[in-house]
Symmetry: D2
Subunit: 426 residues, 4 copies
C-alpha cells in the first residue's frame, strides 16, 4: 500500500497562518482548545447541550479576551485576518463553540473600536463607560452576546424598540439566533429608536442578564450547531440607562454608512469557521483512505476516483483559504484606514461586496467538502455519531447566516458591481 | 399579493402516474398511507423508533401484498414502473417507511419471479415452497427482510457463508443496513456457498426470525432514515434446510448474469423514493413562498430570485420524473422479455447502466432540491423539528445506497458504455 | 487493450425512437441525410456558406414535406415527439441544416393545424388558401421561412407592423435570425396590426421572396450555426393581400392564449437538435478513447478517469433523452386535445413551463457534453477543423434561442409553478 | 435608469496589483499595450495571422525584456506574482499575444535563474554563454520560443532526441503548440539525451531559427488563440554545439526534481492570462447592462436576474484573483528559497499541487465567466465578430494546457495530498 500513515507529513500544507504576534498567540491557543473541544463535540451535539466547560477553559486561557487590548488585560489581537485564522482553528474542534465564542470576541472588537473613536472624538464620558466594559471582558468576568436577528425583518431594520423614557429607554422585542446566550452576562441587542418624524434611528443597547424583563429561552433545538446555545431572547420593558445605548446612527433600513464596519467584524470570522468545518471534514476523509473495501481489498486511497475526490476537496480548500486570506488582508487595511471614522458608503459597500463573494463561496464549498468527505468515507459516515454526520448538519448553517441569504447576496453583489444603490428589494 | 393559496391548482402537475390497473390501486393506497405517515414522521425521526403502526396499517390495507399475485391474495402489481410510482408516493409521507416497505415488496416481487421461473422450468418442488411463501405474504402474516450489505465487501461478494451440512446449510455472518428488520418475520440474507474448487456460489437463504442463531440488533442510529429499522443482523450457525436456499448462481464477485434482475427489482423503487423526498421538499418550499419578510414585507413568492429558486426545483423534478418514467418503462419491457430466463450479460449491463445513470441523477437532485427548499424557506428550515431538516438528513442516504458509490457508478457506466468488462476495480 | 472497435455493439443504446409509422419514415430519411450532411459540414461551417445541396436532397427525398399531410403529398408526420426524434437525427450530421429545415417543417406543421381549424370552423375561404400553400410545400416547390425575432423586443411583441391599407396591409420592419432565408421562397414574419384603440393585434403575414420591398440580407456571420443562413430580412412597404394574414390574435405582449401552440411546434424540435449535437460529440469522444497517450501508451479508454468522463456524458444524454421523450409525449397529447381550439392559458402555460424545463436542461447539457468530449479527446479537439470545434461553437446557440434567455426561463417557470401571471418582467 | 455610465467608478475594484517596483513598471507597460492590442485582436483572430506589430511594439517599449535583469538592459522583474499580474493585464487586450509573449518572457526568466545557478556554482563557462543570451534578449534583438509539447507523450518525457555526436548533438523530432514561433529567433526545445544504460536524460537545446534542419510550419489554425502562432516545429538532424544544451537532468518521465521549477515559471503567468480573459468578458457584460430590451424597455442592469448573473461573474473573478495572488506569493517565496538549488521533490510537488488547484479553478472559471457574459449580453454576443465570441473560443484553450488535463490534475493533486508518488498513470 502506498499511502503513508501520516499524509503529506513533510510538505507545506498551505493552511492559513496569522500575520501578527497577537494573532500567533491567539491561534496557538485556539489550536489547543480545538483539540479538547473535539472530544466533547459529539456529546453536546447529540444532547443539544451548551458546552459551558469549553467556555470556562477559554476564560482561563485568556482566549476569551483575545480581541481585548493589552491595556485591559487582553491579547490585543486587532487583525481581522488573524481573528479569522483563530476562528478557523477553533472550528476544527467544534463549530458550535467557535461561532458562540465569535459572538463574544467580535463584540469585544467592536467595542474596542468604539473606544478608539470616542477617544479620537474626545468623548471622555463614552470612553469611560467602554473602558469599564473592556476591563470586565479583559479580566474574564463578562461574556457578551450580540443578538441581532429577528423574525420577519433584516439586520438593517431591527423591530426591537428602545423607547425613550426618563433617564434612558425601555427595550421591547424578541431576538432569535441568540448564540452564546446560555453563558452570556451582558446582552447587546440591536434596536431602533423612534424619531420625532416617525422614522427610526438604529443603535445597540447593553443589558445585563439579570435585568428585569430580559428572558433567555431554552429553545435552541436545531438541525446543527446544536451546542451554540442560539436561543431566543425576549426583552419586556427592559430599562436601559442613557449611556448604555451605543453606536446610534441614522441609517434605519439602509445598508449604508457604518453597516460594513460592524458586519465585517462580526461576520468575517464567522465565515472562516466554515473553512474550519471543511478542513475537519477533509481530515476525516484522508483518515478513511487507508481503509480497504471490496473483493480485492484495495485501499481506498489507491483508487484513482478516490484520489480525485480528495483532489476536489483540496481544490475547494485552496479556493476558500485564498479568499479568506485576501479578504482578511483587505479588511485589515480598510479598518486601519477608517479606524476612527465611518467609511464612505461606496467603499464600505465595495468591501462588503467582496466579503459577500467570500461568504457565498466558503459557505457553499464547506457543504460540498463535507459531502465529498462523506462519499470518500462511505456508509459509516451516515451513522449518527460519526463526526461527518455532525459536520454535515453544522455546515448547512452557513448560508442562513446574516446579513444575506445566498440569492440576496447575489442581488447585493450585482448591484454594487453595477454602481447601483445596493439595497436588496425585500 | 399575486400568489394564490393553492398553487397551480387547475393546471396539470405532470407528476408520475401508474400505467396499469394494479398500479393504480397500489398508488391510490400509497397516497392515503403517506398522508397518515407524514403526521408521525417527525416523532419517529426524533426518537429513532420503528413505525410499527405504519406497517400494521399497510398490512390491513393490503398494500404490503401489492407485489404479490392475485392468486395469493395480493394486488398483482407486476410493473416495476408502477411500483416506482407507488414508492414515490409513499416516500412523500415518510421516506424511512417507504424504503422499509420496499425491502419487503421488492422481495415479494423477486420471489414471484422465481415462481414463474420454477413453473416454466417444471420444477414443482421449488414452486410449492415458493407458493407457500407467497400465500403467507399475500395473507399479510409475513413480513420479509432481504439483508445484502456487509462491511468491507460489495453486493456481488457476500462473506456471509452457507456451509453445507447434512440436510442443509449452516449460515454464519453479519449483515448491516438490515432495513425493516424490527418488523420482519422472515430474513433472506445473500450468502456464498463454498465450492469444491475453493471458489463460491452465491445464493439467498430464507431464515425465520425465531431461528436459533439469528439475532436482530437494535443499533440503528443514523443521520437520517432513522425510522427505517436498518439494524445489523447476525447469523451464528443458523440452520437452513436445503430447499430454503434460492437463486443459486455461479457468479461470485461478478456483476454478470442475474445481477441486473435482482438489483433492478430491489433498487429501482428505492431510487424513486428520493424523488418523493424531493417532491415533499418542493411542497414545503411552495408553502413558504406566501410568507412576508424584510422591511417592505414583500411576499417571498413575489421576489424574482425566489421564483428562480422555485424554477430550479421544478427543473430538477422534471429531470427526475422523466428519468424515473423512462427507466421504469424500459425495465418493464426488459423484465417481460426475460420473465423466465436470465438476460444476456450485455443486455443486463446496458439496463443496469441506464439505471445507474438515473440513480446518480435522482439521488443528487433530491439532495439539491431539499437544499434549495431550505434556502427558499429561510432559517426556520434549520430548526430541528422542521420537516425540511428531516428531509435534509434523509436525502443524504441516497448516494450511499447499493450497488455503487457515485464514483463507482461513473466507472461502471463508463465501462459499459465503452463495451468493456464492467467490474469495478475495488 | 480492452476496448472493442465498435463500442456497445450488441447492447441497446436507448436512443430516442419514433412512435408512429410516419415518424419512422421521417427518422429513417433523417438518418440517411445526416450521414451525407456530415461530410459537408466542415466546409460550410468554415466558409459560412448555405448548404443548398442539402436542401435539394431533402426536397428530392420528400423529407422537406414530412410534416405535410398525405393528401398534399407529404409524409403526414403529425407527432411532435417523432418530429423531435427526426430533428435529433438530422442534427447529428449538421446542426445548421437541422435548425434551418426545422424552420420550414415547423411552419408546415403550424399551417396544417390552421387548416384543421379552418375546416372545423367551416371557414372555406381560409381553408382554400391554406390548401394551396400545403400543396406547394407537399410537392417540394416551396420552402418557407418564419422569421420572428427582432432586436430589442421579444416574441410576444413584434415591432414589424402590418398597417391596414386598401385590400390588405403594408408590412414594414426588420427581422433578425432569419434562419433558412437563403433557400426560402415564402416568408412568414410575425407582425403587429394597429388597433383603433391604439393597441395591437398579432398575426403572421405570408410574403413571397420576390415581393417588392422584401430584402434578404447576406449578413449571417456568427460564432456557430454558420451554415444556417440566419440572415436579417427587411420589409419595406411590402404589400400583403388581406387573405395572406394568418393567426390574427388579440394577445400582443402576452404569453397567453395561442402562445404555447405556436411556440411548441416551432421550438420543441429545435431543442432536440441540441441533443443531436451532444450525441455527435459523444461519438467523437468514444472514438478518441482508443488512442494511446503518455509514456506508458495506455489507451485512453483504459483509464478510469476517462471512463468517468464518458459516464458523465452518458448520464447527461440519458437526462436529455428522457426529458425530450416525456415532453414530446405530453405535447402530443396536448396538441391532440386542442387540435381545433386554443388551449386554456393555464394549461398552455403548464406545458410551456415543462417545455422550458427541458430547454433549460438540454441546451446546457449539450454544451457540457461537447466540453467533456473535448476533454476526452485532448488538444486535437481544439484544432479549427476538428468536428468538436464546430460542435463547441454550434452548441452555444441553444441558450440564445427563443422565447426565453435562461434567466428569463427561470422566472417564467417559477411564476407558472407559483400560479402567478407568467409574464416576464422585461 | 439607475446604472451609471462608469460602473463602480469610485470604489476599489480589488484587481490584482504588483508588489515590486519592477512589477509596477511591467504592469504599466502591459496595460498600455493591451489597449492597442485590443483594437487589432478581431482582425488577427479572424484571419489567423500573427500580430507581428504587437511584438514590435513590445520590443520597442522594453516589455519584451521585462524578465531580464537590469544588468542586461531589462526591467529586472523577478517576482512571479508580478509577472502573473502583467500577463493578466496583457491578456485583457489580446490573449493570443499574451500567451505568445509569456513563452518568451518565461524563457528569459528561466535562463536568468540558470545564470544565477551557474554563478553560484562557479561555472564561468556556462555563465558566459547565458550572459550572451540575456544581452541579446535585453537589447531586444532576440525573441525566444520554448516548444515542449509533442503528440502522444507528456512534458516529462520528450521524444525529440538530442543524439550525441562529435562536438555536440543532432536533434530530431517534432514539437506542436510552438507558440510565438513566427516571431522567434531562437528555439529551446525540450529534448531527451540517450544514456549508455538505455535510458534518457532530459535537457533543453538552444537552436537559432536559421539552423539547418529547423523548420517552422505555418499550420496553426485553431478554434481559438488564433493569433498565437502556435505552429508545429520540426527538427531534422539539427546540430547543437555542446554548450548549447542546458538544464541537463536525470529525471526522464518523472515529475520530480526540477520539474516544478520550470513548470512554475512557464505556467503560472499562463494561467493568469485566463483571468485576464475573464475580466475582459466581465467588462463586455457590464457594458451591455445599459441596453434596454423587451416590451417595457427596462435596462438590463435594472433586472435582478441580470444583477445576479453579474454577481456570479464577480464571485468567480474574486475566486480567481485570490488564488492567483496567493499562489503567486507562495511561489515567489519558494523560488527565493531555492534560487540556486533544486527544491526537494516533496516541496516542489506540494507547490505544484497548489498551482494545479489554481489552474483547475481559473481555467474553468474563465470559461464560465465568458459564458455568463454572453448570456448577459444576449444574441449579439453570438455574432462572429463580437469580442465575446473570440473570448469564448480563446478561453477553451486553458484546460488543454500543460502539464495536466483536468482529470489528470485531479489525480496528481489527490496523490500529492495523500502523500503518494504523484506520477499520473498514463
Amino acid at each position: 500500500m502506498s499511502i503513508p500513515a501520516e499524509p503529506v507529513a513533510n510538505a507545506p500544507a498551505f493552511e492559513l497562518s496569522p500575520a501578527t504576534d497577537a494573532g500567533h498567540r491567539a491561534v496557538t491557543l485556539a489550536e489547543k482548545h480545538a483539540e479538547q473541544f473535539l472530544a466533547r463535540a459529539e456529546e453536546h451535539d447529540r444532547d443539544g447541550t451548551f458546552p459551558h466547560e469549553n467556555f470556562a477553559e477559554m476564560q482561563r486561557s485568556g482566549f476569551m479576551a483575545c480581541t481585548v487590548a493589552a491595556e485591559f488585560g487582553g491579547i490585543g489581537l486587532d487583525s481581522l485576518h488573524d481573528m479569522m485564522v483563530a476562528m478557523n482553528r477553533l472550528a476544527r474542534g467544534d463549530a458550535s463553540t467557535a461561532i458562540a465564542a465569535n459572538m463574544h470576541l467580535a463584540g469585544a472588537a467592536v467595542i474596542g473600536r468604539l473606544l478608539r473613536r470616542a477617544r479620537a472624538e474626545g468623548d471622555a464620558g463614552a470612553a469611560a463607560v467602554i473602558e469599564d466594559l473592556l476591563s470586565r471582558v479583559g479580566s474574564g468576568s463578562t461574556v457578551m452576546c450580540y443578538p441581532t436577528t429577528e423574525r420577519g425583518t433584516d439586520l438593517t431594520s431591527p423591530m426591537t424598540t428602545a423607547t425613550p423614557v426618563d433617564g434612558g429607554y425601555l427595550v421591547n422585542g424578541r431576538k432569535i439566533f441568540g448564540t452564546i446566550s446560555p453563558a452570556a452576562d451582558l446582552f447587546f441587542p440591536s434596536v431602533r429608536v423612534p424619531k420625532d418624524d416617525g422614522g427610526y434611528l438604529t443603535a445597540t443597547a447593553a443589558i445585563p442578564r439579570e435585568a428585569d424583563g430580559l428572558q433567555v429561552e431554552d429553545n435552541w433545538d436545531a438541525l446543527g450547531m446544536r451546542a451554540s446555545g442560539s436561543n431566543d431572547i425576549t426583552f419586556t420593558d427592559c430599562f436601559v440607562p442613557k449611556d448604555m445605548l451605543f453606536a446610534v446612527r441614522d441609517n434605519y433600513a439602509r445598508a449604508g454608512q457604518g453597516f460594513a464596519d460592524f458586519a465585517l467584524t462580526a461576520n468575517l470570522p464567522l465565515i472562516s469557521t466554515f473553512l474550519g468545518i471543511a478542513e475537519a471534514a477533509r481530515d476525516h476523509a484522508l483518515h478513511a483512505t487507508t481503509k480497504r473495501k471490496g473483493p480485492k481489498k484495495k485501499a481506498l486511497g489507491d483508487r484513482i476516483p478516490i484520489q480525485q475526490l480528495v483532489a476536489e476537496i483540496e481544490i475547494d480548500l485552496a479556493v476558500c483559504r485564498a479568499m479568506v486570506e485576501r479578504v482578511g488582508r483587505i479588511a485589515d487595511e480598510f479598518l486601519k484606514r477608517y479606524a476612527t471614522t465611518d467609511a464612505p458608503s461606496a467603499e464600505g459597500n465595495a468591501l462588503m461586496k467582496e466579503t459577500q463573494c467570500m461568504k457565498y463561496v466558503v459557505n457553499r464549498k464547506a457543504i460540498e467538502v463535507v459531502d465529498r468527505a462523506m462519499t470518500v468515507t462511505g456508509g459509516g459516515a451516515y451513522m449518527g455519531r460519526h463526526p461527518l454526520a455532525r459536520l454535515y448538519r453544522d455546515s448547512r448553517a452557513g448560508p442562513f447566516m446574516q446579513p444575506y441569504a445566498p440569492y440576496e447576496a447575489l442581488e447585493y453583489i450585482g448591484k454594487v458591481t453595477l454602481g447601483m444603490d445596493p439595497t436588496v428589494d425585500r
